[in-house]
Symmetry: C2
Subunit: 330 residues, 2 copies
Amino acid sequence: MSDIQTQFVKNILSGAKNNPNSCGSAFAPSNIALSKYWGKRDADLNLPINSSLSVSLGALGTRTEIRRTDCDAVYLNGLKVDGHDSFALRTLEFLHLFPDLGTSGFEVRTENNIPTAAGLASSASGFAALVMALDDLAGWGLDKKKLSMLARLGSGSASRSVFDGFVQWNAGENPDGTDSYAEPLSRDWKEFRIGILEISKARKPVGSRDGMNRTVQTSELYKSWPAQANRDIETIRAAIDAKDFPTLGKTAENNALAMHATMMSAWPPLIYLQSESIEAIHQVQRLRSDGLEVYLTIDAGPNIKLLFLEKNTEGVSEAFPGLQCIQPFE
Amino acid sequence: MSDIQTQFVKNILSGAKNNPNSCGSAFAPSNIALSKYWGKRDADLNLPINSSLSVSLGALGTRTEIRRTDCDAVYLNGLKVDGHDSFALRTLEFLHLFPDLGTSGFEVRTENNIPTAAGLASSASGFAALVMALDDLAGWGLDKKKLSMLARLGSGSASRSVFDGFVQWNAGENPDGTDSYAEPLSRDWKEFRIGILEISKARKPVGSRDGMNRTVQTSELYKSWPAQANRDIETIRAAIDAKDFPTLGKTAENNALAMHATMMSAWPPLIYLQSESIEAIHQVQRLRSDGLEVYLTIDAGPNIKLLFLEKNTEGVSEAFPGLQCIQPFE
């Protein structure tokens, strides 16, 4: 918690309403970036070097309830979390950015229906749900742009999880962070499917925050990343508008592999991919050579997310037994 | 075979002696680049975008004998190679760049004591040995600089295999290719070891030539590669002079992973690494965390080459059973 963050929160909340409830609750979807966020220009305000574009996962995400209490208590999926656990620490540190809520503590109850910290961006839906639940508790009545900026303080990609459908998080330029927020794009592509291929439920050895700092500081190739990100967002936006799935898939896959390429060229090397991830990447290429229209994306972890259309669900599921299939637009 | 190549050969041979023998023979070592060659600025003359730096593998390499015959015949490791095989085609196409040898054909006998085309740069030692054997056959008496430039026409990295020890191939700037040749650096680091961890003997699905063209044409991150290569060569040269092994190892590993990163960010993705390669990369990182001074490099293939000093041979060999250990300076 820094003075800069406290001041940023104060600015966002200036002019907010004050209709407090005894309990605040909200749901936020997880999101998967098709053009990735990788690299911060400001650590305090979680300002990114590049814009990013994601698709929210519909009903997969985080539901959070929050109440005023005498002392802090955090529950995750029904179990009380130790106060020294990083999940509890990050949650409470974030809540203490908001000093004027008339309570000495919070009880936070969070339910994820996605694995925590396994590269499925639970911190994105987590902080988005927390901010929206807090808005509900305090009765601020903030608009989504402001909710997006507050969620961003908790976790960059959380800025995108306040919206459904395709979402773009604009990097912005201002040092004060007031032009760095997400906005919704199309919410209509019923045939769009995402398949989650879970390689590992284990916590990442290096978190995204440390991983991107290491990449920005040590990878020479990273210097070309922002240009690729900007180009890919434009291409994907146009592909969404035109419902041009091969272009969307190809661009998203290339973008994800380029992000992992910047990590791999960091020092010490940052390789989230495991042997099973490489097998899956090779298999997706083979399937595509055989004419099956399937692409992949990978966040900062070992798990693979497949992108395909409804008509190819059977072919993709046969090739990847145990695939969890998500319909983001239904 | 292009006019440009024929003209280049003619220029190199102008002023050469003429003391023909009935048989020419030569040995050239394989080499492993510590700072990689990846990307051509001229396909005809095999001119690289970036300079590179390698270590030759001592007694591991290619021995070639060449004789004049009525019709072409190519033998590889004692077996006659089909004339339609790419090895025979590349060898003969190269030989036909030299029209004034007073013969209608060649018998070429090549012995590799390294796996062919498995990422162990057999084409490098192969073309270097071929050029030196040809020089022996024709009695040209060319200096090593000229031999390096001729070998380059067959395979870029062959330009380095005309020397032992550490070798730098200067990219050069001239469009005519006359300033793009290798030169020897230090030949003295007795404790230097290379361990070959063979993942696969299979031929690469995409050859280096096509692979680098695809990378240059489609990878945005490749734009940052030449700057990294230039920086890494300076760092490694200084590390060789100072016998600073950790700096050499770290820089070589980072350089190799950055090269693979440029491939991974090409389209279609070019991923030479297999699941066992990723396991080995992770294991090297773990060993280093545990205090063992071992680094790796990887050419355009799945095999891993470990870099370490004599004193750590036992530790490295225990961690990687079946490792083939090379002493480049003995």
